[in-house]
Amino acid sequence: MTASPKSSLLTVDARTKKRNAAEKRFKAYGIVAIAIGLMFLVVLLTSILRSGLPAFTNTVVALEATVTQEDYDAAEGQLLKTAAYEALLVAKVNEFLTAQGSTIEVDEDFITDRLVPKTGATIREFYKANPDQIGQPVTFNLPASTRISRYFEGDLLREDVTDSRFLMVEDLDVVDEMIAAGLITTAFDWNFITGTDTAVDNPGGAGIGASVIGSFFMMIVVLLLALPIGVAASIYLEEFAPKNRLTDLIEVNISNLAAVPSIVFGILGLAVFIQFAHLPQSAPLVGGLVLTLMTLPTIIISTRASLKSVPPSIRDAALGVGASKMQAVFHHVLPLAMPGILTGTIIGLAQALGETAPLLLIGMVGYVAREYPDGIISGFVDSNSAMPAQIYTWAARADTGFYEKAWGGIIVLLVFLLTMNLIAILLRRRFERRW
């Protein structure tokens, strides 16, 4: 029996009102915070997609040509073989213009420098690969030059064009005729995904394929080294190591390492792996080693955290039935910690995948990855670029075509990161189903 004045449960007293108001305010803050976060995400994604999606398409000029056996033999007999094929195209374009009732006549420079750069090689390679097509009419979808594709997309206006070695004003008349005849179109650019990097004067032909492979080999190195070393180190530190000054010191150092700027690891990699151990420059192997150093602390910290979160009663239970410490850890603790370990590992890998700074110092940034590696070993030790390095390289080039490619590269990188996160979620599910 209380002495306080009788209060009704139907009226809310002042204290409760205050508490409820505080709770409401807190919820509102939370919603505002999430809304701001989402807004930034939307802005980021739309700007990336808007700038990057054009990199996945290119403007192609459809030119039909029939190369007869005589043409082929004649071209192959010449010193400058590709030029001969380009000459064939000049004739084709002029034929087309006459058919359209136009009086303009184009020359070889127009074709090779201004309309569809470096096209002879493409045609030659096609016939070398498909000799049965000789004598048949073949339509080539040739990537247009940057300026012409910008003109086609409306980014470049006729008024702004001044005669230069890249585009003459009168070229636009030819282009207009071709557009009217439907010869110039937009197509999905497979070459961007499968292709390799190009020289600075050919942004249209640049692809990210080779650097995707470079990143892939780096990630293999990181996964094969960082996961076992990181998990073994964490298990030892968390479950077996005596708690003393030395292990405290190690612990503090690992936490500090996680906060070391990645460029420091780059310098370390340069000094140790390249200058001291004489490993090849710009190689995914070295990149992978550097990124392993960078990822290890992340993996160790998250693995230890997930080992710590396994209730001690599970260890007691296992030890109580006579399991050894190792059996207790591997049969009971590790499976429970697995989802956390995997998440940590994939977050570490994703960080490593997007890391540019250390690659700068070991020579992967700026390396023009023009070729795919020949095989697995070559994939590890031959010079290559990596996705973020490639993006950086493109962004640093002057031509706006490369700028667009850099944005496109970011989309590819994001797709890889999302895939990795998806894998993490799937693995988590799989392991969690075992309670």
């Binding site: 009663s313 007691d316 239970a317 109580g320 039935v321 006579g322 059996q327 009971h332 309670w435």
Partner: protein, 265 residues
């Protein structure tokens, strides 16, 4: 004459299973067990009683060296099982724990299936040669722990999905599946209803036929029902140890008397 001699002898041999001599336990600076000397007999149930925090669990854990896993814990003195010092450097605690089973104060089943919970011990100790034998051990243990009827249709269901009392019986089944010689039980019935408690007490009585059982309990009635010997702990001291009947009816120490009659708690 001869027969009498033999029974006497076997009685003598089986007399003392666990013998503690001058045991001290420290948690850092906290002196949790103070100079405990006690002889625990084979094939008997010994109850540890005493107020909360007096060191019952701590002393129980010295018997299977579970205290080794606590960094700050230090044990001094000797504990002999069958005359062998279990704190001898030559003793591997893992081997010891296969012989001295334990049921913990809080139910702690593995987050695995009921079957795997019970089968784990026999598996790692190689007690079953094939699946059929393992199945048999699992069934026998679950039956003894009075869980078989509830669990037989859901052996593959997670052990953590059982109710608190069922989990505790699962832990008992897990502990007896390895056929230990000594079974340490830390308040095994604190989460059980009266029926399950009665079943576990019956089990304890049955286990007494083959092993030595040490049980910590807060229930005087339980101690009186199941145990033959009782030890009363107070503030880390073993105040009194003797026949259960005597402790409950005619204690020597005034502290025992006040605890049993509910004046210390």
């Amino acid at each position: 004459m001869k027969d009498l001699n033999l029974t006497e002898k076997s009685h003598l041999m089986s007399d003392t299973k666990i013998s503690a001599k001058g045991v001290q336990v420290y948690y850092g600076d906290n002196h949790a067990i103070k100079d405990v000397n006690v002889d625990i007999e084979d094939k008997t149930v010994t109850a540890f009683i005493g107020p909360s925090g007096c060191g019952k669990s701590t002393f129980l854990r010295t018997i299977n060296r579970m205290n080794d896993t606590i960094d700050i814990c230090r044990v001094e003195g000797d504990i002999l099982i069958d005359g062998e010092d279990i704190y001898d450097p030559a003793v591997d605690p893992v081997q010891l724990r296969a012989k001295v089973g334990m049921v913990f104060q809080k139910p702690n089943p593995f987050p695995k299936s009921i079957y795997d919970n019970v089968a784990y011990g026999p598996k790692i100790h190689g007690l079953a040669r094939n699946k059929a034998e393992l199945d048999e051990i699992v069934e026998k243990s679950l039956r003894k722990a009075a869980l078989w009827n509830e669990a037989k249709d859901r052996l593959q269901a997670p052990g953590t999905g059982l109710s608190g009392g069922q989990q505790q019986r699962l832990c008992i089944a897990r502990a007896i599946a390895t056929s230990p010689e000594v079974l340490l039980m830390d308040e095994p019935c604190s989460a059980l209803d009266p029926i399950a408690t009665a079943q576990v007490e019956e089990l304890i009585d049955e286990l007494r036929q083959s092993f030595s059982v040490v049980i910590v309990t807060h229930s005087m009635q339980q101690a009186a029902r199941v145990s033959q010997k009782t030890a009363f702990f107070h503030l880390g001291n073993l105040v009194e140890f003797g026949e259960t009947d005597k402790i409950f009816t005619n204690p020597e120490d005034p502290r025992t008397e006040s605890y049993i009659s509910g004046r210390i708690g």
